[in-house]
Amino acid sequence: MKGKLWLLIVVVMTSLMLAGCSDSSSSEGDKNTVTVWAMGEEGKKLKQFSKDFEEKNEGLTVDVQAIPWDTAHDKLLTAVASGNGPDVVQLGTTWVPEFADAGALLDLSEYMQDYPNFAKENYFDGSVTTMEHDDEIVGIPWYADTRVIYYRKDILKESGYEEAPKTWDELKEAAQTLADRGEDMYGLDIDRNDQITPFIFAWQNGYEADLEEGNLNFDSPEFKEAMQYYTSYFEEGISQKQEGKDIVEAFKEGSKPMFFSGPWMINIINDQAPDLEGKWATAVMPTKETNTSSMGGANLSIFESSDNVEGALKFISYMTDVDTQLSWLEESNTLPSRTEAWEDPVMQEDPMYATFGEQLENTKPGLQTEQFERIAQELLAHIERITVGGADVEKELEEFNQEAQSLIEE
């Protein structure tokens, strides 16, 4: 019978300990708390940052939960399933349509009057598209990012180029010259796994999707031509097909003197290749019909199940204030979404920021459909068949168009 006693002890202990651990603070349903989910590093910084908001809004506390980027989507899914979401959530611009379509985000239309910071005129055109979903306002742009050209000034100069290429033709020609420098040398690095790059080329060539009519226009000549241009870089050996060196390494040694990337790259190059200082610069995208780039970044949205809408609105309004945006830039190195913030001398004088500011004027977000992720993946798969598998461009694009079209019609 000693054994039974043992078991009893174990069971009693377990239940005691479990009970002891269960009384963790539960902040939900509290009128004075605004719960905020923000991703990764930004989430961690936001916690400190929001102290200022608490001071200005007596009686409101902000509870920021930082969520790792990798698993943020999973975490949001379960929140949608249970209706146990936060009040405010940070959403990447490509995620907005998906969660808005699921009805997880509160329509902010009726509050637009009371919160002047939310007005569409305050933001870049590329961001405004991400605010709306089916005539509802589902999010307010928090910070912006876009892709520009990073290039090695010294290497381009050696090859006879004083400045970054300004048009498609110039880009191709310069890249060709740079690639001809020798074996294992490339002109322009294109990340074949990046979903948005093919679309950037397409937009630059005048491509446009007509989502209202449910027409993706992937069979338009603009799109086809852009894809031919894109794949030609691989076929002509100007861009590396295989996974070569890490881009920063290659940029450092000069084998890949040009590539497209976003604002986060500035710090990476400064950290990982400090010797390059002064030898590289950024420039806006080259022009074909336009020089459109992608609009990335994140919006702040309110969860449908929020129990503190008023506090949430106040918080978002605070975060999108011009002054807040400028101090947040210092804190987190993410670019302001408010156009007005870019008029600040700080933004005007720094050449790095200035490039991004100029580029942001001309951006488009990923297609605003919840199927975008899938469409982009399909496109990458077809492009891979062309560049690696040697398939026919026409045929692959034809197939891709059909698949994408059937996805959207579902």
Binding site: G83, A102, A104, D184, K241, G244, E370, E384
Partner: protein, 293 residues
């Protein structure tokens, strides 16, 4: 007698109850989901889910990527599973050979791959496999062998991932074999030695037969594990090139968590589930016919 009959249930009930609650019921729920068109919208508002019968399953078998993933998974299993078992058994025998500190130390060494952080694994193996700068191709170039596109050609990429997975999978099976080897009573060896058996004879007639419970366990679990092959393609190739390394589990993950097609993903996992059950049942059947010593 009646009293005694309670004991088995007392022993198994805590674990079995927990498993039923957190595995079995969810599986049943997922099974139900596999007959619906549930996506993110459905998750938020259950009334928008509709029952679509076998449609998910029909679409699956018309989906080229899924068919490819089945083929790839079979490829992984057929080559990988025997390799893992042979490697981990050999290493266990090797480590069991001596009793000095050196041998116990090397247990930890051989266990290291299975506790190496997956990001470190991806970075360092990515370097080893790099076509132009990688260590493997550098060594091969010394032997005047041409560059091998380790991760760029569908079949070679599969083999590369298998090598990586074997490397990572040895640790756990090795310690299971080691524990089993330690469980063999010394008297058996003494008896064999008295009969004048040599080392090989001891290995094949004493050690291996006595390891049958452990071997069976390792075979069943490794097979189940490899049929759910996921992490390696996920971090190394994301299924490419040309879907050459996509496994069923990765396919399911992408459908479910990248594209939020829960119904479709659930259907995919039940196809996988069925395949695993069939394979495992066959193993148990074969085992039954095995004569008990």
């Amino acid at each position: 007698m009646k009293l005694k009959n309670r004991y088995p249930y007392l022993f198994i009930s805590p674990a079995v109850l927990l498993l039923s609650l957190f595995s079995l019921i969810p599986i049943l729920i997922a099974f139900f989901i596999s007959f619906t068109d549930m996506n993110l919208k459905g998750l938020a508002d259950w009334s928008s889910i509709s029952f679509i019968g076998l449609e998910n399953y029909q679409t699956l078998f018309a989906d080229d990527t899924f068919i490819k993933s089945i083929f790839n998974t079979i490829f992984y299993v057929v080559i990988g599973v025997p390799l893992v078992i042979i490697c981990s058994l050999s290493i266990a025998l090797l480590l069991n050979y001596g009793t000095s500190r050196l041998f116990t130390m090397f247990r930890a060494v051989y266990y290291m791959p299975s506790i190496t952080n997956i990001i470190a694994v991806a970075v360092i193996w990515g370097y080893l496999y790099n076509t132009e700068y990688g260590l493997f191709n550098y060594i091969l170039s010394l032997l005047t062998v041409e560059n091998i596109p380790w991760l760029q050609e569908p079949t070679i990429a599969k083999i590369s991932l298998i090598i990586l997975a074997v490397w990572k999978g040895i640790g756990i099976n090795m310690i299971i074999f080691l524990a089993a080897l330690q469980g063999i009573p010394k008297s058996y060896y003494e008896a064999a030695e008295m009969d004048g058996a040599n080392r090989l004879q001891v290995l094949f007639h004493v050690t291996l037969p006595l390891l049958r419970y452990a071997t069976f366990f390792v075979t069943v679990t490794t097979l189940i594990g490899w049929m759910q092959f996921f992490e390696e393609p996920f971090v190394m190739t994301d299924g490419g090139p040309l879907d050459g390394t996509i496994s069923i589990a990765l396919f399911i993950y992408k459908e479910g968590f990248q594209f939020s097609e829960f119904g479709y993903a659930a259907a995919g996992s039940f196809v996988l589930f069925a395949m695993i059950i069939v394979v495992t049942m066959i193993q148990f059947k074969l085992r039954k016919s095995d004569t008990e010593y």
